[in-house]
């Protein structure tokens, strides 16, 4: 079929026949595109779109786990209702507001720490030294370990009676008696944050490293010639240049942190001092079987994340290019 290529290539100007052919090809391609997208869109509608609509709907009903079909519309009662001198509903539940606070605190603190440590690790991996590949492999290990497993490993190390962390801290004389890291309300949030930071710093480090490797070399040479201190170069040159990439990492991590579930579930189960919004919603849905109320909490979580995303997109309009156009 090389003949087709030969007789159409050198003419330059478009003959009517060729134009017809190209629109035909175009139409065929667009039709094929939608055919190819259809299975994916159907699956996403089935597992994401429709369930989301149903969750919104359930949040206005009294649905229970055993009987979702017989749900009765009850308006906003799951959210907020005033009845004989008392407010009821998710929005009047101090435990819900506690979980909102816990989630926000967890998200902000853990993501900030991950960015700081991630940049430090990325700077190390960006330097040239013997054994760099080995160090990079070692850094990737926490990322590869399933969240559940890392939570169990840390739960064991943080065990109040037999844990190695208490043993070490006591041997070093930092604490005088063992600390119940996961059970004591004043430490448990820090235990959760520590495990999350340990597990996800590698992800941030990899994104920061990718940004570092794209930086132009010449401004560093200029800085070295001028004898500018490396710390100053980092804050004045490197950091501003990698900030866009770091912002992408931050938004990915924040969205992840706002829906945190498994780390907290395994480390501290349903304790209110670390309860996140996802834990709260699932507890209502599955353990208390109250689908209506749990759906109201899930809907609120969805709205919070949607608002955060829209705010980010609005503030950083130029950063997000759809498919790199």
């Amino acid at each position: 079929m090389t003949s087709t290529v030969n007789d159409s290539a050198p003419t330059g100007a478009r003959s009517p026949a060729r134009q017809y052919r190209s629109t035909k090809v175009r139409r065929q391609r667009v039709r094929a595109a939608w055919t190819f997208l259809a299975p994916m869109l159907v699956v996403l509608a089935l597992v994401a779109g429709w369930p989301l609509v149903r969750t919104f709907y359930f949040s206005f009903t009294d649905a229970s786990l055993s009987d979702t079909a017989g749900a009765v519309f009850i308006g906003l009662e799951n959210y907020l209702v005033y009845d004989s001198g008392q407010w009821y509903g998710v929005l009047a539940d101090p435990v819900w507001w506690g979980s909102v606070w816990n989630t926000a605190y967890f998200a902000v603190v853990s993501v900030s720490l991950e960015v700081v440590f991630g940049v430090i690790v990325a700077l190390i991996l960006n330097a040239e030294f013997k054994g760099r590949t080995l160090v990079r492999a070692a850094v990737l290990i926490p990322w590869a370990i399933p969240t559940i497993v890392s939570a169990q490993m840390w739960a064991w190390m943080l065990n109040d009676q037999f844990g190695i962390i208490n043993e070490l801290l006591m041997a070093l004389g930092i604490i005088s008696s063992p600390i119940a890291w996961t059970a004591d309300a004043s430490y448990s949030m820090w235990a959760v944050i520590m495990v999350d930071v340990w597990k996800t710093t590698p992800f941030v480090a990899l994104l920061a490293l990718a940004a570092l490797q794209m930086l132009p070399k010449d401004c560093y040479e200029a800085a070295e010639v001028d004898g500018i201190h490396p710390v100053r170069v980092f804050f004045k040159v490197t950091l501003p240049l990698i900030t866009p990439a770091l912002m992408v990492a931050v938004i990915f991590r924040l969205l992840d942190a706002l829906r945190v579930f498994d780390v907290i579930y395994v480390l501290t189960s349903n304790s209110t001092s670390t309860m996140s919004m996802s834990i709260y919603a699932r507890q209502q849905l599955v353990e208390f079987q109250d689908v209506g109320y749990g759906s109201a909490a899930s809907t609120l979580l969805f709205l919070i994340i949607a608002l955060a995303t829209i705010a980010y997109l609005y503030l950083g309009r130029n950063r997000l290019q759809l498919g790199g156009e």
Partner: protein
């Protein structure tokens, strides 16, 4: 020694100390899990940094539970099927999104991006109803279906960025030869996309292998659980003391394959993660 040499030496020493700290913090928890898993239960509560013996009783105990073996089987089945579905739908969808210009393209991309940002718990009650309606509750098929919610958007997104980078000429030649889009995908793009597909497939496998919330909620009996749920719910004879030895043995069993995969494919994983995030 001049002060200049001294400060150079100090920088080097400081740098290597930093490297050592980073490596120890990264590796130690896993290392400690490994040495704990080789301890007999009587020795479990003595803290030591070096293994003094290699006792296999924890591993024997874990493997003697048929439900744990079944959980490994379920996890392998689910993760492999999810990867297969995500790649099949991902490669066709990414051809459409990466190579063809059509109206509604950016809307589709926006929908995909939106779904990837969903909090899983927001669809929990609706998805529960769908799964029960399809009679897939407490069934690995239900989990395979529900895992597409996070693997599919990610796969499509990353494959689309890879697909875009391929030169236009390839496709033009195929069009000139009268190839249909399906033939173009299977004969022209598929051979070139293997590296990208290996990367995204691996990342989808890890995500499906590690998933917890859906697996916990959509299964009921021990036989249908996946590995993360089995480990989270592992409990011993007494209600007061967790069986740490078997928990650590089970953790090591399910983590070693992942760690090996990650170390072998670290370059690919790094490129996949950064393609998904930096370019998104």
């Amino acid at each position: 020694m001049t002060s200049r040499q001294f400060s150079k030496l100090a920088t080097r020493v400081g740098f290597w100390c930093l490297v050592a700290v980073v490596v120890v913090i990264s590796v130690f928890p896993f290392y400690y899990a490994v040495i704990t898993s080789f301890k007999p239960s009587s020795e479990l509560f003595r803290v030591e940094l070096w293994p003094s013996q290699a006792d296999l009783s924890n591993y024997i105990q874990v493997f003697s539970q048929s439900s744990f073996i079944k959980a490994i089987f379920n996890s392998v089945l689910i993760a492999t099927s999810v990867v297969f579905i995500a790649l099949l739908f991902g490669i066709t969808a990414s051809y459409a999104l990466g190579r063809v210009r059509f109206r509604g393209r950016s809307t589709v991309l926006l929908v995909i991006l939106g779904v990837s940002m969903f909090p899983q718990v927001a669809v929990l009650s609706g998805l529960f109803e769908v799964i029960r309606g399809l009679n897939l509750y407490n069934n690995p098929l239900g989990l395979i279906l529900s895992y597409t919610i996070f693997t599919l958007p990610f796969t499509v997104w990353v494959l689309t960025t890879f697909m875009k980078q391929l030169p236009m000429e390839l496709e033009e030649a195929a069009i000139m030869d009268g190839a249909t889009p399906w033939v173009t995908i299977t004969r022209v793009f598929l051979p070139l996309m293997w590296p990208a597909m290996a990367t995204t497939g691996l990342l989808a496998f890890i995500a499906a292998w590690n998933e917890f919330l859906f697996a916990l909620t959509f299964t009921l009996t021990d036989d249908q659980r996946t590995v993360p749920v089995a480990i989270a719910l592992l409990s011993g004879g007494s209600a007061y003391e967790l069986p740490w030895g078997p928990i650590m043995a089970a953790s090591v069993i399910v983590t070693v394959p992942l760690v090996v995969l990650v170390i072998i494919f670290q370059r690919r994983i790094v490129s996949g993660l950064t393609a998904g995030a930096v370019k998104g």
